[in-house]
C-alpha cells in the first residue's frame, strides 16, 4: 500500500489487468483511484510458490548450483553464479584465473540474451507504438532480426560454456565440470564481433525513442566493485550513501509477505522501497563501464534520465548490451585454457552468502551449511521481489499524471511502465515460511 497521491479533478478509476503480457511469468495489475487519489497500486503475483529454499535443504552445494538454475529460464546463470561464489567463499576456495574469466564471460552471455530479448521484443513495441512484437516484426523485420542475432550471440556463450543455452549444467564449486578449451572460446568471436555492431546500433535506435515522461526520485541500489563493472563481485551501494558488504544484505533489507502476492516484497529496514537493475548499475557504476559502453552512454547523454525516469531503462539496457558484448570479446581474446576444470576443495560447516548482479539486478543468496557442506537452511532473494515495492510505488506516483486519458490508454501506459522494469515473476515467487512435517 502507498500513500494516496492526488490528481486534479475528482476522478474515480479502476484498472485491472488480469494477465500482464510481455513479462516473464504470471502477474496482474490492480489500481484503484478514488476522487483523484490513488488508493492502491498493486502488482499482484499469483504464479504458484515454488519452494526452492526448501528444495535445496539436505543438498550439497554442487547440487544446489544445478537446482537453483531451474528457478529461471532467462537468468539461470545468475542463480548459479551467486550460489557458487557463496560456496567458494564459505569453503575458502581460490579458483583459477581462467575460471574467473569464464564465469564473467558466462554472465556476459546471460546479460546479452536477457537484455536483447527485453529491448527488442518486450519493451521496444511499446516505445515504437506497436501493440505487440508481431506488429513490430511486421513493420521493422530487419530490426527484430538484428535483435535476435544479438540475443543469439548471448545464447551461444551460455551454451558453449554452460553446456546448454537454458539451465546450464557445467558450473561446479571450484571451477567447471570440464576444461573448456581455447578453441571453443575462440569460436565465439565472430558472432560477438557482429553483436558488437548490433549493440552499437541498439544504442542509436534507443537514442531516437521518446518514452512517456515520468520522473521520480528513487533509491537506486547495485553492487560496486573496485575494478570492474559489477557482475560476480562487489559491495552493496546506493545513491544515498549505502556501502556495505554484499554478505550483509539482511542487515540492510528485509522481506515481507503481502496478501496480494506470492512473492515476498523486500524493503529497506527503514521501510523504503529501492530499485535494482540496469538503471541502478549504469547510474552507480558508470565509471566502471567498458570504454566502448562509456562512450555510448556519453553519446546518448541520458544519464540523468536513466537515473530518474523508469521508462528510460531501455537506454541502460542498451548501454549494458554494448558493455557485455565488448567485455565478452576482451575475455575471449585473453582466455588462457586452464590445466584442469576445477580445483580440489573440502566442505565444512559455514554460512555461505553472496550477491551478484542478475540482468534484472542484485540477487542475494545465503545458505547455512553443516559439517558435510549440506544445506540446512537457505534464503534466495531474487531481484524482482526486491523491485516489486518500488514498482508499486512508481505506479502510485505515475497514475495521477495520466488520469485525464482514456481508460484504455491509462491501462496501456501502466502496463508499459511495469514492463520497463523487466519483471521476472517466475523468479519472484518464493516463500520462506513453508512448514514441512515429517511423520516418520
Amino acid at each position: 500500500m502507498h500513500d494516496a497521491v492526488s490528481a486534479p479533478g475528482g476522478i474515480d478509476l479502476a484498472v485491472d489487468v488480469r494477465n500482464l503480457t510481455r513479462v516473464e511469468g504470471e502477474g496482474s495489475l490492480h489500481l484503484r483511484v478514488r476522487d483523484g487519489a490513488v488508493e492502491s497500486a498493486r502488482l499482484e503475483i499469483f504464479e504458484a510458490p515454488r519452494y526452492f529454499e526448501r528444495l535445496v535443504v539436505g543438498r550439497s552445494m554442487d547440487e544446489v548450483i544445478d537446482i537453483v538454475a531451474r528457478i529461471c529460464g532467462i537468468c539461470p546463470v545468475a542463480y548459479q553464479m551467486t550460489a557458487v561464489h557463496a560456496a567458494e567463499a564459505a569453503f575458502g576456495i581460490t579458483v583459477d584465473p581462467a575460471t574467473v574469466a569464464l564465469r564473467r564471460l558466462l554472465y556476459c552471455g546471460e546479460w546479452i540474451e536477457s537484455h536483447a530479448l527485453h529491448v527488442y521484443l518486450l519493451h521496444l513495441p511499446d516505445l515504437l507504438g506497436y501493440p505487440s512484437a508481431i506488429d513490430l516484426a511486421q513493420h521493422a523485420r530487419a530490426t527484430v532480426e538484428g535483435g535476435l542475432r544479438l540475443k543469439r550471440a548471448g545464447n551461444a556463450i551460455v551454451a558453449r560454456i554452460g553446456g546448454r543455452a537454458i539451465h546450464p549444467v557445467s558450473v561446479r564449486v571450484g571451477g567447471f565440470s570440464r576444461v573448456i578449451r581455447r578453441d571453443e572460446i575462440a569460436s565465439l568471436r565472430a558472432d560477438l564481433v557482429e553483436a558488437r555492431d548490433l549493440a552499437d546500433a541498439t544504442v542509436e535506435l534507443v537514442a531516437g525513442l521518446q518514452p512517456p515522461a515520468f520522473r521520480r526520485d528513487a533509491r537506486l541500489v547495485a553492487l560496486r566493485s573496485p575494478d570492474e563493472y559489477p557482475m560476480n563481485t562487489g559491495r552493496i551501494v546506493s545513491n544515498d550513501g549505502l556501502d556495505v558488504a554484499a554478505t550483509d544484505w539482511e542487515s540492510i533489507f528485509e522481506e515481507r509477505q503481502v496478501p496480494w502476492s506470492n512473492a515476498l516484497q523486500a524493503h529497506g529496514r527503514d521501510g523504503r522501497p529501492y530499485l535494482l537493475g540496469p538503471s541502478s548499475r549504469v547510474t552507480l557504476d558508470a565509471d566502471r563501464l567498458h570504454p566502448r559502453a562509456a562512450a555510448a552512454l556519453a553519446r546518448l547523454d541520458l544519464a540523468d534520465r536513466i537515473a530518474n525516469e523508469p521508462n528510460w531503462s531501455i537506454a541502460a539496457r542498451a548501454v549494458e548490451l554494448v558493455h557485455a558484448v565488448a567485455e565478452a570479446i576482451d575475455l575471449v581474446d585473453a582466455y588462457e585454457q586452464p590445466a584442469r576444470g576445477a580445483v580440489d576443495w573440502s566442505p565444512r560447516a559455514a554460512t555461505a552468502a553472496w550477491a551478484t548482479e542478475a540482468p534484472r539486478g542484485l540477487l542475494f543468496q545465503r545458505f547455512r551449511l553443516d559439517d558435510d557442506g549440506r544445506v540446512q537452511e537457505a534464503r534466495i532473494v531474487p531481484p524482482t521481489s526486491q523491485n516489486q515495492a518500488a514498482i508499486e510505488a512508481d505506479l502510485a506516483l505515475f497514475a495521477p499524471t495520466v488520469l485525464d486519458r482514456p481508460h484504455a490508454e491509462i491501462t496501456h501506459l501502466l502496463e508499459q511502465l511495469i514492463r520497463s522494469y523487466d519483471p521476472c515473476i517466475s523468479c519472484a515467487t518464493h516463500f520462506l515460511d513453508l512448514q514441512v512435517e515429517d511423520s516418520s
Binding site: 494477465n19 503480457t21 510481455r22 513479462v23 516473464e24 511469468g25 504470471e26 504464479e47 504458484a48 510458490p49 515454488r50 519452494y51 528444495l55 531451474r70 529460464g73 532467462i74 530479448l117 527485453h118 521484443l121 518486450l122 505487440s132 512484437a133 508481431i134 516484426a137 511486421q138 523485420r141 527484430v144 532480426e145 535476435l148 540475443k151 543469439r152 545464447n155 537454458i166 539451465h167 515473476i425 517466475s426
Partner: protein, 189 residues
C-alpha cells in the same frame, strides 16, 4: 474429454502469406516436436512426459526436443519445408481437456486459452514473429492439455493424469496432420 479447436486466422498477414511459392527440398527432419514445461512443476511436466512416451515410436524424420520455454530461435532453427508441433500445458481450458490449434489460427485469437509454461513472449507471438522472420508461414500446431496444479513436484493432477493417453494420441495425430500440411496434402484416415 477431447476438445479440438481449429480457429481460422483472425488477422491476415499479407506480407508473409503473399510470399511467392517456392519449391523447397525435403528436409531430413520433416517435423520437430518441441516440448515445453518444467518437469518439477506438477501439470507443467505433462508435455515432457507425453513426448517421452512417444519418443521410441517416432519415425526417423520426426525429431523431439525438450525446450522448456519456447524461444523464437527454436522455430527459426526448423529447416525450410519442415513443420513444428509445440506441446505444452494450458490454462483457460478445463483440466484434462486437450486443445489442438494450428499455427495459422494462433495470431489474434482471444479465447483465453494460454500455455502455462512461463514464456516472456507468448507462444502465439513467438510463432508469428518466427514466421515473419522466416519470410513465410511456419506450418505446425500447438497441442496442449489443460492443467490445474502447478505446484512443486513431479506428480500430475488426476484430470491431467487421466488425460495422458489421449494427450499422447493427440500428439501422434498432430504428427500426421503436420506431415500433411508440410507435404501440401490432406491427412489420411
Amino acid at each position: 474429454m477431447t476438445a479440438v479447436l481449429d480457429i481460422a486466422p483472425a488477422v491476415r498477414r499479407p506480407d508473409i502469406t503473399d510470399a511467392p511459392e517456392v519449391t523447397l527440398p525435403v528436409p531430413a527432419t520433416l517435423i520437430e516436436i518441441l516440448a515445453c514445461g518444467a518437469p518439477d512443476r506438477g501439470d507443467d511436466s505433462a508435455a515432457t512426459i507425453a513426448v517421452g512416451r512417444l519418443a521410441d515410436t517416432l519415425p526417423d524424420d520426426v525429431r523431439a526436443r525438450i525446450v522448456g520455454q519456447l524461444d523464437i530461435d527454436d522455430l527459426l532453427a526448423i529447416p525450410p519445408g519442415a513443420g513444428a508441433i509445440v506441446v505444452d500445458t494450458a490454462v483457460g481450458v478445463d483440466p484434462g481437456w486437450i486443445v489442438e490449434i494450428p499455427f495459422s489460427g494462433l495470431a489474434g485469437r482471444e479465447s483465453g486459452i494460454r500455455p502455462r509454461s512461463s514464456h516472456a513472449l507468448s507462444i502465439p507471438e513467438t510463432v508469428a514473429v518466427a514466421s515473419i522472420i522466416r519470410g513465410r508461414p511456419l506450418q505446425g500446431m500447438v497441442v496442449a492439455v489443460g492443467g490445474v496444479d502447478f505446484g512443486l513436484g513431479e506428480s500430475l493432477s488426476w484430470p491431467v493424469a487421466a488425460a495422458m493417453d489421449a494427450f499422447v494420441m493427440a500428439i501422434a495425430d498432430a504428427v500426421q496432420r503436420v506431415r500433411a500440411l508440410v507435404a501440401g496434402t490432406p491427412p489420411r484416415g
